[in-house]
Amino acid sequence: MTESIQGYKGEALATIKKYNVRVWSDTLIKSSRGEFKGIILPRSENDDTTHIVLKLATGYNVGVDVHTITEMTELGYKEAHYKIPEKEFPYTEGLPKVKLLGTGGTIASRLDYRTGAVIPAFSPGELYGAVPELADICNLDTEKVFAVFSENMGPSQYKKLAITIGEEIEKGTQGIIIGHGTDTLHHTAAALTFMCQNLPIPVVLVGSQRSSDRPSSDAALNLMHAATAAGHGDIAEVMVCMFGPTSDEYGLLHRGTRVRKMHSSYRSTFRTIGDVPLGTVTRAGVTHIHSVFNKRRNDHNVKILPYFEEKVAIVYYYPNMQPDIFDSLVANGYKGIVIAGTGLGHVNKLIYPAIKRAAAAGVAIYMTVQTLWGYVHMFVYDTGRDLMSMGIVPAENMLPEVAYIKLGWVLGQTSDLEKVKEMMLTPVSGEITRGEPYNGYLIYQGGIPEVEEFIRRVHK
């Protein structure tokens, strides 16, 4: 690995060394483009190796090209250290006891104004400093369970979280919030639904789409909504709580097995698929949309089932997919495959032989749909019937990611394919539903007069 000091490498590092200046030093740079005076800042690891970053007295940052530099003089030195202010989280008699479990995503944070680094706020005191309104909602305690980015969450984290949830319930916690990055929030939500059954209290997963170092962040409101749903709501399920509309109005509570991130950047990115959401939440409380849900209880009778088989994959089908995709999974010892098929649950004839070989090798194969909305219906066309005869099991209206998580969880408990099938097709919590409400699938298309009229009248 090449040498790097605070992000400076190559020519930039050589220049810093040549003129004997340091990162964090107040420096005068003479260059062929003129004189620049400011504090040398650390450089982002991925940026090029030919510029030095200066913070000018006005607060702006600029880069100076090392090829233009003729002289550098250190005028002073001041290294910056930053800390989130901490205030004691006040205890209020009569408010519910809520535990916030941290997974490493930043729920509340501030940006280090000099380096751009994000400093997370996590302890109750730090959170109180950032979102004081939380103290009006609940008595909050926090625990950092582990620290990984959302994209690095996986089975071992799911299991650890499930066990921690069990312990918290045993201790009498009245609601649990899990702070989580948004990219794989719905995978974790599904995993926890299967691993924590018969919940007596709400378990609310929450994240933010605009980080809390921005004044327009959704983090604070999401956190308040999550605290309300966890502390005061009566839905004792694993839920995702995120913005309903993009306006600062209300949050939606999504069932952990029916939720999916649907936009790469919108605040209202999470949507319940194949159903309507469980409810809405504002600081005033939870309003139900779904009438059937697991109600809050006072007992501690939760079932924690922390199992997971890691040799499970999702195969997203595309036209002209070649059989070797399946063969390589089998060769690598995969025990379960979830296919996201086209239309009602189809793949092409080209891969039939590979599917037969996989089934013969004892791999559990389940079919879901790429359309996300709707059921697998494999009796409608011959293709579907062929596939079923080869051993592919239709997974009803389970979402592909949910089917993946559930298959991993089931295979972690049994390898008996009949038992696997029984468990896969017996819903734990809404991952397969008896039917789909006709008003669940509502993807409005802008431009149509009645939709435009709706948007104009109702805040988005």
Binding site: R33, G34, Y113, G116, A121, S216, S217
Partner: protein
């Protein structure tokens, strides 16, 4: 009630104490005496096709009540450097404003509503900004870093403006001296404010994200006139590129003012350069007044640190007076300001006293619409005699004290009291750091607390952009003629000074120069034609004229061998009917080509007729009569002086 006290006299007396000199009587010495210093931040929109960080079109404006969708947001302060919320942040949070954005489909995408990260910076805008930076003789940065500048007023839905330094330092020449620049930055424009009433502020997002440059000078202007001169210069310089937007709101000025012992106050968003001199003049005296108030308070009140207001909630049923406060379900609070006698009616600006400083803040911070207070030193307080008596009894009012009475919804009362106390405490220290809004009459209103330097954060959503040497070389080779050169040209051509502003402001020098060179026309003729004749016609007829067509008109005249004198007659028709072709203009004018000798041959007929019939004694009257007969036929065909000489010759014979 203290009936002895005369607030009007106090206002007048304190005005004299401050030494307020009316603007018309002020000289350079007046400003030297005040220690007047001023710097400028000139904002100029760039003429690009798309916005700075997204691909929405620019310059498409909506009517405020014409929108396709609305969005609601709230701005929260973020933790800043020392773990404290900065001043502006705290103020904006206290106001608990609901921010509503009105969107139009054509000019808003997911970027405007802060639901997607920025797209790569608009290169066209970057190059225009670099060009202007080069004209200012600045040092161009090696790498452009996009920075977030926090604004919590909601004027930008992200809560911050994306901005980047393009060049630093540089200077411009004024008539007497040079003024240095601090920097030029490229930034996105903010929303336009539709309204701000109570706890609800509404914005339109059409202007949001349009590319803008900000040119910042050092505070080196020492008189209001210098400030205006520098503002004009920077505007002309930007316009000389032909790549900036013009029209209402396309250029806006922020003016910083301070005086000896004072502090930097920023007057924001001044729409007209002509307002600047009076605004800065009055602001200088406002600062001086606050310094006088500071001294007076510190003499009267020995322990400023422990100074507090005393408040009492009044029962509305006890107040048998009609109150001026707007709104319903109001609570009424009386606030005693111990030792503040003579301060509330103290002069701060022409027509405004210290109480108005408090009233402005109650409106902005506590969201109480005006009129939002009554006080013990109002000129017309006798009209509220019963209320005054009640307050003075309730508050144990003493002869050195003052009181304020305000009303508002229950939720705003605490903020209202805090705001009054805070502003009064600030008076002990002098001048609070704030931004102010300039009015046409030269006075200013409190707008926001001035934010600190630590509201700048790197934009983690964008990568730095390297600025290659080749790009600078390319841009340098395409720069327009520099402004000092233009000024010298105008002077050399003896163009009257009243033409200069129009020519420079509208960037008409390049076209004028081309006409002068290509058709060998006299420079002064072309410049006055543009800046006197066409300007006047256009204003009078409320029409517009595309100056690019002027070249083709000269070209037409040359081709048809018509003298330039005819151009005014033609233009008066062209401005009225912009689509008309030039030949039709000639027909409308009834103009016919005529040779000089043919025309001269007509002269004897007229001279004989005039001399025979009228017996005019005075030759020149006879000459002008004949000229009148022949003028229209001569125009564009023969030089007028020549015709006149010919007539003169014949008459004198």
């Amino acid at each position: 009630m203290d009936s002895e006290y005369n607030a009007v006299q106090n206002f007048e007396r304190t005005r004299q104490e401050v030494g307020y000199t009316p603007f018309s009587e002020a000289t350079r010495a007046t400003y030297t005496g005040l220690g007047f210093k001023s710097g400028l931040e000139i904002h100029q929109q760039l003429r690009t096709r798309e916005k700075l960080f997204c691909r929405c079109p620019v310059g498409v404006y909506q009517e405020f009540d014409d929108y396709d969708a609305e969005l609601v947001r709230h701005m929260r302060p973020t933790l800043s450097e020392l773990g404290e919320y900065d001043g502006t942040a705290l103020m904006e949070f206290r106001t608990r404003k609901e921010i509503i954005y009105r969107l139009k489909n054509q000019t808003a995408c997911t970027y405007e509503v802060d639901d997607t990260p920025p797209f790569p910076l608009n290169r066209q805008a970057l190059e225009i900004a670099m060009e202007i930076s080069l004209l200012l003789k600045q040092y161009i940065v090696g790498e452009v870093h996009i920075t977030r500048k926090q604004y919590l007023d909601g004027s930008i839905p992200t809560g911050f403006q994306r901005t980047a330094i393009i060049g630093i330092e540089g200077e411009i020449p004024l008539s007497g001296k040079n003024i240095r620049l601090i920097q030029l930055s490229l930034e996105e424009d903010s929303c336009r404010e539709v309204s701000d009433i109570g706890h609800r502020r509404i914005y339109a997002t059409d202007r949001l994200g349009m590319p803008l440059i900000e040119m910042v000078t050092y505070p080196e202007m020492l008189t209001p006139q210098e400030v205006a001169e520098a503002a004009h210069y920077l505007r002309f310089l930007a316009r000389s590129t032909g790549k900036v937007r013009t029209g209402i709101g396309a250029a806006r000025e922020d003016v910083n003012v301070s005086v000896t012992g004072g502090t930097r106050i920023e007057i924001k968003g001044v729409a007209h350069i002509s307002w600047i001199p009076l605004l800065t003049h009055i602001e200088a005296y406002r600062q001086k007044s606050l310094l006088v108030i500071k001294d007076r308070l510190n003499q009267k009140i020995l322990k400023p640190d422990s100074w507090r207001v005393i408040t009492k909630q009044l029962k509305l049923e006890d107040v048998r007076t009609t109150l001026p406060f707007p709104g319903a379900d109001l609570q009424l609070v009386a606030v005693l300001l111990p030792g503040f006698k003579g301060i509330l009616s103290h002069f701060t600006q022409p027509g405004r006293d210290f109480a108005s400083e408090i009233s402005d803040r109650l409106k902005v911070i506590a969201c109480l619409e005006k009129p939002n207070l009554l006080h013990s030193e109002m000129p017309d307080i006798v009209e509220f005699a019963a209320l005054a008596k009640l307050i003075e009894t309730e508050l144990d009012f003493g002869k050195h004290d003052a009181w304020i009475c305000f009303a508002g919804p229950e939720a705003d009362i605490a903020t209202g009291i805090e705001t009054i106390e805070e502003r009064c405490q600030m008076a002990f220290a002098g001048i609070p750091r704030e931004t102010r809004k300039g009015l046409e009459n030269g006075t200013t209103l409190f707008e926001r607390v001035l934010p600190g330097a630590d509201r700048m954060y790197p934009d983690t959503d964008s990568a730095p952009i390297p600025v290659a040497e080749e790009l600078i070389v390319k841009l340098r080779s395409q720069l327009p003629v520099e402004l000092p050169v233009r000024l010298e040209q105008l002077s050399k051509w003896s163009v009257p000074e009243d033409c200069w502003t129009y020519l420079l402001r509208n960037n008409l020098m390049p076209i004028a120069e081309k006409i002068i060179e290509d058709f060998e026309v006299e420079a002064r003729f072309v410049c006055t034609l543009i800046a006197h004749y066409i300007k006047g016609k256009v204003r009078l007829n409320k029409k517009s004229y595309n100056f690019n067509n002027l070249y083709s008109l000269f070209s037409f005249l040359q081709e048809h061998d018509i003298r330039w004198e005819l151009i005014k007659e033609m233009l008066s028709i062209i401005i009225e009917h912009p689509k008309i072709d030039y030949q039709s203009v000639l027909n409308l004018l009834n103009w016919k080509q005529e040779k000089a000798e043919d025309l001269f041959r007509k002269i004897p007929y007229f001279t004989e007729s005039v001399l025979k019939n009228c017996q005019m004694k005075c030759d020149h009257k006879a000459i002008s009569w004949v000229m009148g007969k022949l003028r229209n036929q001569a125009l564009g065909n023969v030089k007028m002086e020549l015709v006149q000489a010919k007539i003169k010759e014949l008459v004198e014979q």
